[in-house]
């Protein structure tokens, strides 16, 4: 099990609030790791930390390490743009830019210096195909991305993340705002994408975690209570708190 992403004794404070407590977790390559736990347990904070999206928030203090392919992402020599190119993020609410479908996808590659139209065309098609939405939008690439349905917008956001050829995809409740059909499409997509990418998702939907993830990590009050293979976590969890949470006995 080669971990692409790994945290070691990761602690994070928002001011006095100790939001992540000594979290050590390995996220292996070409697998889907699901982060589960009740609201406020630290799973989204953990996910954002993997992409350095919260270390600039005032009052945030981080200790411990996040290793991406063996490199500590908090190393002063690590460029955040470089990190985010390799570790992409898809958010809970689809957030396409208010521009055309084409420009949404081409935005990242352009930022990274790709200028040639032919090359951009190829990237846009490949990314949209990768996000399983090419056939639905290929005839209206110049239309605004905001004209699409929520499920389509979310796949545009995934395509946008894929366009910079990342290594890891982080998804923060990427289907919670979608209907069951769109959710099912994204879940199929996740299963497909893990062949090429390492995926970490945050989900409140236990059935989704069982359907799409290979490994699961259960967070509670900022602690990593238990991590393991999804099948083990959902059939014979080791910790009673995990069992209580996944069977809805909490709180």
């Amino acid at each position: 099990m080669d971990a692409i992403l790994k945290t070691e004794h990761l602690n994070l404070w928002y001011g006095d609030n100790h939001a992540l407590k000594d979290v050590s977790l390995e996220m292996p390559g070409h697998q889907v790791t699901a982060l589960i736990g009740p609201s406020g347990c630290g799973k989204s904070t953990f996910l954002k930390t993997l992409d350095r999206m919260n270390d600039l928030i005032p009052g945030v203090r981080i200790e411990g390490q996040v290793l991406y392919r063996g490199r500590n992402i908090f190393d002063p020599q690590v460029d955040v743009t470089w990190l985010r190119r390799h570790v992409g993020m898809v958010f809970q609410k689809p957030n396409p830019f208010p521009m055309s479908i084409y420009d949404n996808i081409a935005y990242g590659p352009r930022t990274h210096g790709v200028r040639g139209k032919k090359e951009l065309d190829q990237i846009v098609e490949k990314s949209l195909r990768g996000a399983a939405i090419w056939d639905e939008v290929k005839d209206r690439l110049k239309k605004s991305a905001l004209s699409l349905s929520g499920g389509q917008q979310q796949r545009i956001c995934i395509a946008r993340a894929l366009a910079v050829e990342p290594d890891v995809l982080l998804m923060d409740e990427a289907t919670s705002a979608l209907d069951p059909i769109s959710t099912s499409k994204i879940e199929d997509l996740i299963a497909d994408l893990k062949k090429s990418y390492t995926i970490v998702i945050v989900t409140h939907n236990m059935q989704q975690a069982t359907r799409v993830s290979d490994r699961c990590a259960f967070f509670l009050h900022g602690e990593l209570v238990e991590a393991g293979e999804t099948e083990q976590i959902f059939s014979v969890p080791r910790d009673k708190r995990t069992e209580d949470y996944i069977t809805g006995r909490f709180g």
């Binding site: 069982t210 059939s235 969890p237």
Partner: protein, 214 residues
């Protein structure tokens, strides 16, 4: 929702307990009827085992409905999936008891009173008890009782070997004037199978608690 689900799981345990109780009553009745050579006990036993068919269907429907509505995981999933497995074993136990009752009726029909070995009554009591205890172990999440049921199987197996030996000797010594020794061996074999099903149920009860299948 959790409260409703817990109440439904408890109800499922009650349903299985009731079915196991019916099976035990059928076994007791049929064995008692053997010694008395009466038809009444055997017929009641057959009726009891027939009522287990409906119980089986009700429990299966209940399990399917819970799987669909609650989408259970972990222990909840084991509680329901083991109920589905156990109900089949209980149904088989009912079939075996009905088979014993049929033989008993056959014996009663020719008016001969078979000489029933004492050990057969002991074996029957043990088997019936094992069935009841195995389901109780499931309902109470009691691994120790389940293990005790599994251990009792050796006692039943030994009784079967002894009964078979005694009845074979009867035949060999031409003491089997009624020609019933073979029927009684078959009955003993049915009881031995009932005990095996009880062991299956006990193993499922342990799986339900621990998640480990023996």
């Amino acid at each position: 929702m959790r409260k409703t689900f817990d109440a439904e799981l408890l109800e499922l345990g009650h349903e299985l307990t009731a079915m196991a109780g019916t099976a035990q009553d059928a076994i007791d009745l049929v064995t008692a009827s053997l010694a008395k050579s009466g038809e009444e006990g055997a017929r009641t036993a057959i009726e009891l085992t027939a009522s287990m068919d409906q119980m089986e269907r009700d429990i299966e429907n209940h399990c399917m409905s819970l799987l669909m509505r609650q989408q259970p995981v972990a222990r909840d999933l084991r509680t329901i999936s083991t109920a589905l497995k156990m109900v089949t074993d209980l149904q088989r136990i009912g079939d075996q008891a009905a088979n014993i009752a049929e033989i008993s009726l056959l014996m009663a029909s020719d008016g001969t009173k078979p000489e029933v070995p004492e050990d057969l009554a002991i074996m029957s009591r043990q088997a019936g008890l094992m069935v009841r205890q195995a389901i109780a172990a499931y309902a109470d999440r009691d691994e120790t009782t389940a293990q005790a049921v599994i251990n009792l199987d050796d006692v039943v197996d030994e009784l079967f070997v002894k009964i078979k030996h005694d009845l074979t000797a009867r035949i060999a010594h031409q003491e089997d004037h009624t020609g019933r020794a073979v029927d009684l061996i078959i009955i003993a074999k049915y009881l031995e199978r009932i005990a095996d099903h009880a062991v299956n149920i006990a193993n499922w009860a342990i799986f339900c608690v621990t998640g480990q299948l023996q």
